[in-house]
Amino acid sequence: MRQKAMDALPGSSWTPFEINPNLPPETADIVIVGGGVVGWSIAYWLKQKEKLSKGMRVLVVERDPTYSQASTVLSAGGIRQQFSLLENIHLSLASADFMRNINEHLSVVNEDPVDLQFNQSGYLFLASEEVAHIMEQNYNTQRMSGAKVSLLSQHQLKEKFPWINTEGVVLASYGLENEGWFDPWTLLNAFRRKAISLGVIQCFGEVTSGSLTLCLIVCVSQVQMPNSMEYQPVECAIVVNAAGAFSGRLAETLGIGLGPKDSLAGIPVPVEPRKRYVYVVHCPDGPGLDTPFLIDYSGVYFRREGLGGNYICGISPEEAEEPDTSNLDVDHQFFEDKVWPKLANRVPAFEKLKVTSAWAGFYDYNTFDQNGIIGLHPLINNMYFATGFSGHGLQHSPAVGRAVAELILDGEFQTLDLKGFSFRRILAQEPMLERNIV
């Protein structure tokens, strides 16, 4: 009896209920669904731009604490300015500026400075006769926007990179500065560390549904805890969909796209996961330190990985041969059939190589025009989208985060005008296609 009284009085650590410390808070101002690099970038910029310290509660909900299927960590990690759309070029330039001054932005007192392991090696695009004019037009656009790109003729290409087989190559576009590759996990953790130090709350769970009221506002998101039946409804004012490859599925659970076919409510978010394979190969006689991120007009690409003669390569499969997206298993036959012949054709030294490892990752593929969707949904008044980047999410993440934070806090874009990436183009069926050479 005495023991029971002692337990029940305050001061003892006994409680009748088990309190799960991992549940998200019951209310939050902004819920960001998706803890990849885009989600954490938005969280960081929201906190960076808020006028009052701790003025709003930002919650980042990530489904998988191990990040095993997240596109961020499975990415090849490249950044380039060689696009044809002005918005994409500006996004890349702004992101490169951010990464150059990353310690100014993301350093935390008493923690190590951020080291992205950025390899300043540049991208090299090879164009055949048919697509050389597209490359020239893109080059002019890029130079006008301030990207440091140079064009090389076939002869200059052979001089600069003697290990390339220049047969069929008429023109090459080579990035001189602000292009290369880096470690995506470091960038993600840098954003996460700084955002948490500024007061963002991290939660691991899956958003299973949201309640839409009469005027179509998401006001309560249901967050399901991983591996358990527990869930916590979170009342929120704004929801940001940064779920990457799974944002289409999330939009469907909220009821977007399930209305009558010819109405606004019937247009789904056109983002779906697409599996892409990356193969790590070892070739002792391969090109050296100056290997750029080479992308051939046949679609095959490769880049150097480390200093030991390892390279990362892959190719985008044809539309008709898209692999199954239910898992991340790697098809090694794909390398033998599709990647190796084209690779060995372009770089003769790669005829003798050995595949040491491989992995697969999802693109958040925008089936409409393969460019990002940034902005408010036309029907749901408080749901923002920052998804559908189709393989460019990582390299644009700092600039996209800033743009979405400006949209949320200022109501309009301040530094970069990304109105072209809004939902309007999907409603009006006006695709903004990249004029690539592949």
């Binding site: 007192v109 090696s121 330190l289």
Partner: protein
């Protein structure tokens, strides 16, 4: 001033420079900080005011660095790019030499320099020595359009990092000698950026602390720049003895 006193004075200047410009509060630094810095860290973890003051101090340091490296647009408009570059070099404490002349224009230990270089309005800058200055990537924009720059010495510059090396592509036709020894922030990824400098004849990459496998990097550099003579001292290139397995 006598010679030892002069060198001591320069040494103090250089170490003060490093104290201002280096990254503070790294928890992985080799030696634990002094008592004062550890006290400040302890207070910063507990009090928001102290954290705010420390952030403010770091910001003031960065702003000072940016002010020193500002783009000299006004000078460039009125006096031309060569004079603007010369003025920038001298105000940061470096030195330069014009084409066709043999004497160097330098600032003295107190930062004062003579204005004689204004007499040579049309001369082009051939050699630049910015060792132990705080030049950084934004400051490099002040040196653009120096198409005859042959030598660039950046020994011991604390703000020269990989992005700076990538920005050197603007000198790809003319640069013949580059000295980036003792620059603490350069890594192997930045050395890959030197691929654009095809005319480079002499390169000094000694004493770079952040290169993890210096022997391999030097070999790859030699392959990348076949006509370049590479000096790389200060690395322990001896083979490590393999651990004997006792059966």
């Amino acid at each position: 001033m006598s010679a030892p006193l002069l060198s001591f004075h320069r040494c103090c200047q250089r170490s003060a420079l490093l104290l201002v410009a280096r990254r503070r509060w790294s928890s992985s630094s080799a030696a634990p900080g002094s008592l004062l810095s550890r006290c400040l860290l302890f207070l910063a973890k507990r009090y928001y005011d102290v954290e705010m003051l420390l952030n403010w101090r770091a910001k003031v340091g960065r702003d000072r660095l940016q002010r020193k490296n500002l783009y000299y647009g006004y000078t460039r408009k009125f006096y031309g790019p060569e004079i603007a570059s010369a003025y920038y070099i001298l105000s940061l404490g470096g030195g330069f030499r014009f084409v066709g002349q043999s004497e160097w224009f330098r600032a003295n230990s107190r930062g004062k320099f003579s204005w004689e270089f204004l007499n040579y309005k049309d001369s082009l800058v051939e050699e630049v020595d910015m060792s132990h200055t705080v030049i950084n990537y934004t400051g490099l924009s002040n040196l653009e359009r120096q198409q005859h720059l042959r030598t660039l010495k950046l020994q011991g510059c604390p703000e020269v990092d990989d992005w700076f090396l990538a920005g050197l592509h603007m000198f790809q036709d003319s640069l013949e000698e580059l000295d980036i020894s003792h620059c603490t922030q350069i890594t192997a990824g930045g050395l890959a950026a030197l691929r654009n400098l095809r005319g480079l004849k002499r390169l000094n990459v000694s004493y770079l602390p952040k290169i993890s496998s210096p022997g391999l990097v030097i070999i790859l550099l030699e392959e990348m720049l076949p006509h370049c003579q590479i000096t790389a001292e200060g690395y322990d290139l001896s083979l490590r003895q393999a651990v004997e397995e006792t059966s």
